[in-house]
Amino acid sequence: MPAPIRLRELIRTIRTARTQAEEREMIQKECAAIRSSFREEDNTYRCRNVAKLLYMHMLGYPAHFGQLECLKLIASQKFTDKRIGYLGAMLLLDERQDVHLLMTNCIKNDLNHSTQYVQGLALCTLGCMGSSEMCRDLAGEVEKLLKTSNSYLRKKAALCAVHVIRKVPELMEMFLPATKNLLSEKNHGVLHTSVVLLTEMCERSPDMLLHFRKLVPQLVRILKNLIMSGYSPEHDVSGISDPFLQVRILRLLRILGRSDDDSSEAMNDILAQVATNTETSKNVGNAILYETVLTIMDIKSESGLRVLAINILGRFLLNNDKNIRYVALTSLLKTVQTDHNAVQRHRSTIVDCLKDLDVSIKRRAMELSFALVNGNNIRGMMKELLYFLDSCDPEFKADCASGVFLAAEKYAPSKRWHIDTIMRVLTTAGSYVRDDSVPNLIQLITNSVEMHAYTVQRLYKALLDDISQQPLVQVSSWCIGEYGDLLVSGQCEEEEPIQVTEDEVLDVLEGLLVSNLSAPVTRGYSLTAIMKLSTRFSSVNRIKKVVSIYGSSIDVELQQRAVEYNALFKKYDHMRPALLERMPIMEKTASNGPTEIVQTNGETEPSVPDTKHLPLVTQPANQANDLLDLLGGNDVVPVIQTTLPTKPASAGGELLDLLGDLSLSGGPAPAPSVPVSKPPFLLDGLSSQPLFNDISAAIPPMTAYSKNGLKIEFTFERANPNPNIAVITIHATNTTEADMTEFVFQAAVPKTFQLQLLSPSSNIVPALNQGSVTQVIRVLNPQKQQLRMRVKLTYTHKGSPVQDLAEVNNFPPQSWQ
């Protein structure tokens, strides 16, 4: 068998291959040769073959059949074999395969070898890829070498120990004694690796941290020597003495000084010294300054030092080197919360970075800019940020848009400015805004009462330009549906009112329905908007036609809406004006609060905190009026207890504020942040979700009233999707021999609840349990207070009227928790 070809020969040959296929062929041929050579257990050329295998492995070809050969090489006595063997082990073996454990014994022997370079190979391999089992077995040897006086081995042992600790943290203790005089070494290699070892130990164990705190003065001294000492050719990098060691020491000081006043004070001077004396013309000096700044900001430094640090970062921002600018922005982002004012001083430089070409720099500048926005600089900052939004890459647009909305919400100087800003975002980055922006914006617009005419006009004009950006189209359609009357009447004060007819508006909305650009959700918005205009415009016939066409739409959602709206025209026309009334001002949710429907008095309408907008609703039944009579005005306690104008008192204030003496002990005023907000669709209550989805396990029924033969039982369900609504069905039965006729059931709840009574099944409770009257009560209990109720019953029994009042307190907890 001829000698296997040499490594360089093989490399040369493979590089001549012109195609992937040719290369693969050569590789396969050589692998076959190598395999047979391995089979022959050829010791002489094993090294050469493994070397070739490693080359082919780097090209991406499988080389696992060489793993055992690596082990044989490691076990060989020849240094050349060991060198390649250990390299092969590091490249081909990994701790997932049991095969690697076979190395352990060899490494153990080599750690005790007479030649330090062999020991070095073993330490390197163990420290690079040693598994936890290997580390456990060999930790003792490493610890021994950590104490040797041979600095070549000591430095390697230190880093090997770091790896052992990472793999088997419990072994950390055993290295403690050996660390005793590590820092007294003169050798920079040992110093550097020792600092790394100490850092690792302190990061992992608070006890170690406490123990090593006493090293601070020593570390400070070493650092000082590095800075003050003259030129040392061996460790010099561009005029700075051993920057690698300086950086590691600064990092260890950071960990030791964190949350400790004494240590922080001890390092104060040296930090100031490094910060002011380090040469900044080259990257290496800036690397040290960077580490210094990180340390200053993290320990308990005095304010002068902190200002110094921020100023260094400010100077970094002006550096030509983009790497420096990048780290400056990153660091400023970390400190902007704690040292806000100091960072504000560099705001204009930061804003300039928005125009940088580098993506990472732009992103950081954007994040930092948003962090710096406040009431004073909002106008200027927003101009820059909107300009950025216009020109930035798509990957930024969503985050930037959200940031703009948030900042505008917090600091808008005026409503008009706020709406203008939103319009600008919608028109420039409309397709990138997040889904929740649409309802949030609608809420904002609704609450800016004086801007309605202006808003709807601007949104209408925007729609004329572009109907492709869905969030913009959705908000616009909603607005037009709400305020279309203001649009055609040309009432705008803020700018020149436009002349537009009802037909033109309807054209636009119908255009949205048929356009390919409109998403299904958008179509829903536009159909609802058209419907709402039926009470605001006079061209009702046209609207009726559109609605009836969509009654047979393929889109189920549209079809359902159209059918329901149709029904509204036909059967419930008397309810239509009430249902399509202008939206009242909504309670501000915590951002992204759940949207709920609060149902009151049989109308599907959000609760009205501002009674100014209270619609005058004719009750389907006269129950509410009766309740008022019930109270006779005597027991009514004034509703509003808090001073918050947007307190969500129930609709029609007094109507449901009953029973002042049923106040809850410690009766809290409703918390201002009761999450009530309007869903985007007025008639969502008629949407496909059934009212009585049961989400909880069955709640036990209870007997609410039982007297004179009349028994009233309550059964419960918790409504879906709103878990704050309890649905109670009353069942009234009569055990007497005579029917109870003209039966009316009324109920009242404390202030913090809201009640809706639906129509009863009948008003005759048949005698002798022959049937029952059922009625549904929906109770909204947003504060999850204990449910209590007062009921009034009136009926005629055997010719005489009967009336009774009762309190119901024994509600099962599951009905209100």
């Binding site: 050349t80 390197c124 880093l159 290699g189 920057p243 990257n283 780290v327």
Partner: protein, 153 residues
């Protein structure tokens, strides 16, 4: 440091050093994706990028990219110095190193790297010491007894 990769402008891998345990498949995937990402960067961009949850520091020397993945608490700027130090070591050893040197002597490039870094951290901050150690180790290599001048492998 979690790993270091050296690759050409065509994306061919010239050296890979992994300091974290990963399967071959994962290594290949990471290599492929990271190489693509770095090669796509324009010359004016900075040397740092965020990739997955790591910080990546890279620098191009002639036709070779030197690319390191470091942890969040590591100093990016000093990593650039580490890379530079490694290039200086190669340069001193090979005498004006070029990509071909690293291709044909890849095992030596590894030996030098392993003498400079251990477990991802610098063992010695003195250029002289590292080079001396390599020199001494080279002398230990047994020449083939039949052909003294023939390369060992």
């Amino acid at each position: 440091m979690q790993f270091m990769l050296l690759f050409s402008r065509q994306g061919k891998l010239r050296l890979q050093k992994w300091y974290v345990p990963l399967s071959d498949k994962e290594k290949k995937k990471i290599t492929r994706e990271l190489v693509q990402t770095v090669l796509a960067r324009k010359p004016k961009m900075c040397s740092f990028l965020e990739w997955r949850d790591l910080k990546v520091v890279y620098k191009r020397y002639a036709s070779l990219y030197f690319c390191c993945a470091i942890e969040n608490q590591d100093n990016e700027l000093i990593t650039l110095e580490i890379i530079h130090r490694y290039v200086e070591l190669l340069d001193k050893y090979f005498g004006s190193v070029c990509e071909l040197d690293i291709i044909f002597n890849f095992e030596k490039a590894y030996f030098i790297l392993d003498e400079f870094l251990l477990g991802g951290e610098a063992q010695d901050t003195s250029k002289k010491n590292v080079l001396k150690a390599i020199e001494q180790a080279d002398l230990l290599q047994e020449p083939r007894h039949e052909y003294f001048n023939v390369p060992v492998y």
